[in-house]
Symmetry: C2
Amino acid sequence: MMIPTTDKVRWGMLGTGFIAERLANAFTETRRATLVAIASRSLERAEAFAQKHDIHRAYPSYDELLADTDIEAVLIALPNALHAHWTICAAEAKKHVLCEKPLALNANECTAMIDACGANGVLLMEAAMYRFQPQIEHVLRLIDDGAIGEPRLFYGAFCFPFTDTSNIRYNKSLGGGCLFDMGFYPVDFAKLIAGAMPDGAVAFAHYHPECDVEIIAGGSMHFPTGMIALFECAFQTDVRTYVEIIGDEAEIQMPDPWTSRGTRKEVLLIRQREVVESFDLPDPNSYALEIDHFSECIRT
Amino acid sequence: MMIPTTDKVRWGMLGTGFIAERLANAFTETRRATLVAIASRSLERAEAFAQKHDIHRAYPSYDELLADTDIEAVLIALPNALHAHWTICAAEAKKHVLCEKPLALNANECTAMIDACGANGVLLMEAAMYRFQPQIEHVLRLIDDGAIGEPRLFYGAFCFPFTDTSNIRYNKSLGGGCLFDMGFYPVDFAKLIAGAMPDGAVAFAHYHPECDVEIIAGGSMHFPTGMIALFECAFQTDVRTYVEIIGDEAEIQMPDPWTSRGTRKEVLLIRQREVVESFDLPDPNSYALEIDHFSECIRT
């Protein structure tokens, strides 16, 4: 089914950094969404980004983009510490908001964002793009179908070496640190599997001596369903990307749970240390799927 | 080198349960140790066990075995809750003590056991038999040689389905529960890797509704070296036996870290998700190695 261009949701984006690049690229694959405007604090950066990604309008401030009445939805691709402020501004400008993960730096900020979007009648979604991978839907269906029995333990890891301390990830005042950046994934996925918020959570972390952000962290959570989750994340270890969901009868292993690579994804069903079934799943651009999903929510 | 029978350490064992069977079998492979006496609370059980394992003397009480002046060392193969009491009795009878893991139910009991053995000039060792597997020495040497850089994260799992609630493992008053029984292994191994006690530790657990012992548990620890460890154990999930030690440059995976199977053990060195080296190691009887090691400590 072709969606006429006029029916596509018209998006604007705040920010031109690393994740903004990925999101702009994703719009070449979206079916229900089109990126019509970009804003940066610098007109030069906004114009360069607009030219590179074939975006019609470039704004030299976030406020000016939010004042553009042609824009229906906004992507917040700013540093973590700015998510709350600009989500609330966007809501007040009557734009629907897809905000990069983590939604904010604490629960109070999140509540204020949710309230602002509610009061202005716009939708708000946290950009947990990994959730839109077909492998995630497949795993949730396997669990629903009883393939592993009751999920009892969850183990998730997301680590890679990233030692450039001049990067935003090492900037404490902008919401840096590996827990927000990568710990988000296993923590969020454990919540998705449990279908609930944890009723207990503890983590240990190591801080960079100068930057004062966590560079290695690991912890555990307990869920009301009875599931116990372990998670780890790090900027300064070897690469690790794993999820293992252990039920009372079998377990699921996901060697590559988080990011799109444009290849294929493998999901393994294991019983008594033997692979009993292996699933080969497509690996589409999860940013494009996420933007299309939110656009569909806006239209319906 | 042959050790003359007269030079072998003469052992007695308290208990005739599951682990006592394994230990008695191990004596057929020990070079420096011989099992000369067994004690049970029932003469019938002691005699049946002695006959089965070709042990010369069978005692109908632990006290009578401890009074046997021919015995130099004692294996405490009793339920966890009895470890402290009988270790102290054995020490007072001037026997060296190899006590099944966990050494006791709390730190106070451990301190009393250590003090009693010190005061009576006898050796005390916790029977962490997995430590005597060649794969453990190999992994420690790999880490010492810098194969993974600095160990930053440790993940260890020991789970299997064990649902017979009439078993001692489900008996709270005897020190049951999966943390003492299987959680011991990853917790102990993390300590061995870090070369230190944790300075922080937290776990979540699920309890059996009737037996009131943990059947599923998971938690995290922090070590003064900076390493963070995650561990899980369970009586009521699918089988899982894993250790992964993640350094800042590479990681070690051990698919079968805990028990002897008499086959081979695989240790993998992994960098950026690729196996860069695989080690194939022997899998001897670790109970026999442990008893021989302790016997050697006694003789030297």
